[in-house]
């Protein structure tokens, strides 16, 4: 039921991404297996991590639009969304062929994901929060 409400909240938000909500962060932290809807809820936090980056919000929306809200959030999917939104150029493979596999590898190389993890791993809530926090640490200086 809570999952359903989260999905509804995420997709019924009108007029772009909502401001980051601490209640959402707490709820996501308790999730055992996240869906793309939870990543969308964290989108405002991703945008807030990169103040001054033009067009990030619209690129995030666009990349998230590729998936259904109930789709499982794997590391490769999360990596693809942020790699597209941040316009990652650290991996030639991803620049040439922007697919989930190379997005995940690029984020492993940049230290966002551990090299022991797999792109097919479904992220839990704590992993998602940690992922967003690490994005800011890894790419924040690009602002």
């Amino acid at each position: 039921m809570r999952k359903f409400l989260l999905v509804c909240l995420a997709w019924c938000a009108v007029g772009g991404l909502r401001a980051q909500s601490l209640d959402d962060i707490v709820a996501i932290g308790d999730e055992r297996a996240c869906s793309v809807a939870e990543l969308r809820l964290m989108a405002p936090a991703i945008v807030a991590s990169f103040p001054g980056m033009d067009g990030l919000e619209s690129r995030l929306e666009e990349a998230l639009g590729r998936y259904e809200p109930q789709d499982r959030l794997t590391k490769a999917r999360a990596g693809y969304v942020v790699a597209k939104a941040l316009r990652l150029r650290t991996s030639i493979a991803f620049v040439v062929l922007p697919i989930e596999r190379y997005a995940f590898r690029a984020l492993v190389l940049d230290g966002v994901f551990a090299n022991t993890s797999s792109g097919g791993d479904v992220m839990d809530g704590i992993e998602l929060l940690d992922f967003v926090a690490r994005l800011g640490a890894a790419y924040g200086s690009r602002e």
Binding site: D23, V26, P44, A45, L129, A133, G136
Partner: protein, 244 residues
């Protein structure tokens, strides 16, 4: 009336948690405190319950004054406070870090026994007068870096490892229980004390040394506790074990 007030103040001073309070001294961005399952925004100067769960948003941080120390919660951190008390002779505070990064600065006061612990799912960092940073994430595990003093890091799987000023230590979530050994970047200390050189060597070096001298470098927790006060740092080791 004055006598009554003085008596009441004296009773309060020695009755346990009279001075135990948590105050938000600086707030940046979006910060909230979960009190009685309800999220409340945190503002500078606000007093918080000693069992509050603090949550910070992206690009946000909050600094809390707790007893004789400060605790700064960095961006996207969730931590629960607990066991905070202060008497005339002791100060206790415990922080359960769910995810994110906390920076603690604990002042060592004369005659005040201080216990300040930061617990993550994979270990516990315990200090008495030091400045150190603890961060935790399921990908990277528990990372402890010490700016001053000495911190004892206890793995949730058993084993305690002192981390001294200038050093850092990572307890990965899936790692084997650590050897009881220490590490240090203070080469001078190592040169001055051969025993400390082995004790503060990285785990691999300690293992090699143990092989070469028949395990003489393996130190128990008691031996480390005796060794560390003479290591030239200002803190002392508080050995604490976290049971899974």
């Amino acid at each position: 009336m004055k006598k009554l007030a003085a008596f009441a103040a004296a009773i309060a001073m020695f009755s346990g948690s009279a001075f135990a309070e948590v105050t938000a001294t600086a707030v940046k961005g979006t910060v909230g405190a979960m009190v009685a399952r309800k999220m409340q925004p945190v503002a500078a100067g606000m007093k918080l319950p000693d069992d509050a769960t603090i949550v910070t948003g992206a690009n946000s941080e909050v600094t809390l004054a707790i007893n004789n120390g400060t605790l700064t919660l960095k961006s996207l951190t969730t931590a629960k406070l607990g066991g905070i008390s202060m008497t005339a002779t002791s100060s206790t505070a415990a922080v359960a870090l769910k995810t994110g990064t906390v920076v603690s600065e604990v002042k060592q006061l004369q005659g005040l026994k201080t216990s300040f612990t930061v617990t993550t799912p994979v270990g516990t960092s315990s200090v008495r007068g030091t400045t150190h940073t603890v961060s935790y994430g399921p990908e990277r595990g528990m990372s402890v870096s010490v700016a001053s003093g000495v911190v004892a890091v206890s793995s949730a799987r058993g084993g305690t490892r002192p981390v001294v000023a200038g050093s850092s230590y990572v307890q990965s979530a899936g790692a084997a229980p650590p050897q009881v050994s220490t590490q240090s970047s203070q080469a001078a200390q190592e040169a001055a004390r051969p025993g400390a050189a082995q004790a503060f060597a990285p785990a691999e070096e300690a293992a090699q040394a143990a092989q070469s001298d028949g395990g003489a470098s393996e130190l128990g927790a008691e031996a480390l506790a005796e060794l560390l006060p003479s290591s030239g740092t200002t803190g002392t080791v508080n050995v604490s074990l976290a049971f899974p």
